[in-house]
């Protein structure tokens, strides 16, 4: 265990940035956001960023390949480049867990090489949540905000930041920072963990349970009459899916540049009317069906295909951002709270 005084954070960031690119949450006019660190940028105190950390591995838009068309010849141009090493600092326990959810999709065979490239070059420095919010419910999905995963886990006390390296990669970076950090014992960190756990017990959503949901429950929930009421106010916008750290659906299209073709991938949303449109049309004709898809995916379909793992991490972003305040917590309470369940 190592530590550094909070007053020396700029030195810490500068030292990390000397080894590789460093991204960390900073405050902006529109809330906290991961940005590349530069001299003068300070770490945000916000609990979480507006957009999730998934952007680093699964960007909203990316170019997959180019085609050059000359007469009858089509040349394929591989636009992939080896990603440079980077450090992601200040990732919360929920977002770290979201990487596992995404990994199971993108790193399953056939592996998504674009995703894999970025994932392999990242070093995750997570931060325990001193002050969870009322919208937090990571505990529902077995995540401990006092003990996040990551290559290095950090704990912040009133005046110091503690580092606990969890992987070889993390240990290597921590060793490289040994000249500006000092040896620390676990006492202060244990106290901080205890404080966080005490606070987690005060969260209003702490009793939300996943029981009843999960693998193989499709038939049980698919025709539930409550979907109608739950989805009735839904605007069909993509806010929940785009701020969600685990939503992973995308669309691939070709863009005619006039002198060639760019094949790009961009986030898609099951809330949209043209989502997964096929030659026969869109399989989900009403907003009820699209709305149901999102929650069934998180609570039933994904767990069915992934050893029972749910694809929600309880970060609370959808609770904070939905224009009509409908969200997975309300859905779980309504569907799980049935008398005949």
């Amino acid at each position: 265990m190592r530590k550094i005084s909070l007053s020396k954070l700029p030195e810490l960031f500068s030292a990390i940035a000397k080894t590789s690119a460093l991204y960390l949450p900073v405050d902006t006019k529109a809330g906290a956001k991961f940005e590349a660190w530069a001299v003068g940028k300070t770490l945000s105190n916000a609990l979480n960023t507006v957009r999730s950390a998934k952007d680093f591995f699964f960007p909203q838009t990316e170019n997959l390949m180019d085609f050059k068309v000359e007469g009858k010849n089509i040349e394929l141009i591989d636009t992939r480049k080896e990603c440079e090493d980077f450090v992601l600092f200040g990732v919360r326990a929920c977002d770290v867990k979201s990487f596992e959810v995404l990994d199971r999709v993108f790193l399953a065979e056939p592996q998504d090489t674009y995703y894999k490239n970025r994932r392999e070059h990242a070093l995750i420095i997570s931060t325990a949540c001193n002050k969870p919010q009322e919208t937090c419910f990571c505990g529902t999905f077995g995540i401990d905000a006092a003990e996040p995963s990551g290559d290095i886990v950090t704990y912040r006390t009133d005046d110091e930041l503690f580092f606990d390296a969890k992987t070889e990669k993390g240990k290597k970076l921590l060793d490289a920072l040994s000249s500006i950090t000092e040896e620390a014992d676990e006492k202060a960190v244990d106290q901080q963990k205890a404080l966080i756990r005490e606070r987690l017990q005060k969260l209003p959503l702490k009793d939300l349970k996943t029981e009843g949901f999960g693998s193989g429950k499709t038939a049980e929930f698919f025709d539930d009459p409550q979907w109608k009421e739950l989805s009735s106010a839904c605007l069909g916008c993509g806010t929940c899916t785009f701020v969600c750290p685990t939503c992973q659906c995308y669309d691939i299209k070709d863009f005619d540049t006039g002198h060639g073709i760019k094949r790009f991938r961009c986030w898609d949303s099951c809330m949209y009317s043209d989502f997964t449109k096929m030659s026969a049309g869109q399989p989900r004709l009403t907003q009820l069906e699209r709305f149901r898809q999102r929650f069934m995916h998180k609570l039933v379909y994904y767990p069915t295909n992934n050893d029972g793992l749910f694809s929600c991490v309880g970060c609370g972003r959808c609770l904070a951002k939905c224009p009509i305040n409908m969200n997975i917590v309300k859905v779980m309470k309504a569907l799980g709270g049935r008398e005949d369940a």
Binding site: E134, T239, N325
Partner: protein
């Protein structure tokens, strides 16, 4: 400040259900917290008594829901309208978007609304909010109770409220207010004073945050096309990719043009934007220009009015001659 209590609205709804004036009630359902209320249609007394809610976070504009909620049904719907909602109500009637006969509108006076989204950016770990006159008590999980003046928490769009007067209703709860001197064009004027480069940089900065969630469009009472061009794969502009900042500018500017003359300035677009883009300023620029070219016009102030830009008269100025580009008004 809350002008009418939950009980006053609930009792009115129960009365109108009981005497057969309406069959269903469009209102708000309580959430997990005081601020996360959800628009809902209540089908009967029991449902109303159980979950009906009215508080200072009930800010969403109900008017657009009337399109879907009056289609394919003969049932009559009760809707509660704040003054700003009543302008959208009229505008939708002007555009024949819902059947007036199927709606019973009760006007509700409004002292301004709070926004859960804005509040949560000011206060951490909000557990409960209560409004008492012009004071707001915010209970927090870890920092005790905090007291605020209502004015300081007022949601952004209510700071430039254009009218406390209802322009449509069948019945009014309480007293009606007046059209206000809103100063709503002050911010537009500030942008007009910028050089073109500064203004470009301003909008580049704002619009580059767009994540193309389309919440602004989907909530907008003026955006009621059955199929939006941006959702049509055959349109060539459907692009969901935030490919470069031009994509976002194109989307928002086209949308602003499309609703020009029909936008009532209800502010829903900026209220729902998860990225805090002040989209209403694009619409206000159009409103301001229309006012200066053709005389003051407020969309939705009355049913059936023709917006100046779809109403040719021989007195119309030629915009390209009325203003000099790159200076002031351009």
């Amino acid at each position: 400040m809350q002008e009418v209590t939950r009980d006053a609205l609930l009792n009115k709804a129960l009365e109108l259900l009981k005497n057969g004036t309406v069959d269903r009630v469009l209102g708000y359902r309580v959430g997990e917290f005081s601020y996360d209320v959800t628009p809902a249609v209540f089908e009967n007394e029991d449902a109303l008594k159980k979950d009906f809610c009215w508080n200072s976070f009930c800010g969403a504009n109900f008017s657009k829901y009337l399109i879907s909620e009056t289609a394919k049904t003969e049932k009559k719907l009760l809707v509660f309208l704040k003054p700003c909602d009543s302008y959208s109500f009229n505008q939708l009637l002007t555009e024949h978007r819902f059947d007036r006969e199927k709606v019973y509108a009760v006007g509700v006076p409004c002292g301004g609304m709070l926004s859960g989204k804005d509040l949560r950016e000011k206060v951490e770990s909000v557990s409960d909010v209560s409004v008492n006159g012009d004071k707001v008590t915010v209970k927090t999980l870890f920092d005790g109770d905090l007291e605020f003046d209502f004015e300081t928490l007022l949601s952004d769009r209510c700071k430039n409220c254009k009218s406390k007067k209802h322009v449509a209703y069948d019945e009014l709860l309480g007293e009606d207010g007046e059209v206000l001197d809103s100063h709503r064009f002050d911010e537009v004027e500030r942008l007009e004073q910028m050089t073109p480069d500064e203004r470009f940089a301003f909008w580049q900065g704002e619009l580059s945050r767009c994540i193309r969630c389309n919440a602004c469009r989907d909530v907008c009472p003026a955006c009621t096309c059955e199929k939006c061009v941006f959702d049509n794969p055959n349109s060539g502009v459907q692009n969901k990719a935030a490919a470069d900042s031009f994509e976002e500018k194109m989307f928002h500017i086209i949308r602003a043009f499309h609703v020009a003359g029909r936008c009532t300035d209800c502010g829903e677009c900026s209220r729902v934007c998860p990225q805090h883009i002040p989209l209403h300023l694009l619409n206000r620029k159009f409103i301001k220009d229309i006012n200066s070219f053709y005389g003051d016009y407020q969309a939705g102030a009355e049913v059936g009015s023709r917006a100046p830009i779809v109403n040719y008269t021989t007195d119309d100025p030629e915009p390209s001659e009325a203003v000099e580009r790159g200076h002031g008004n351009a």
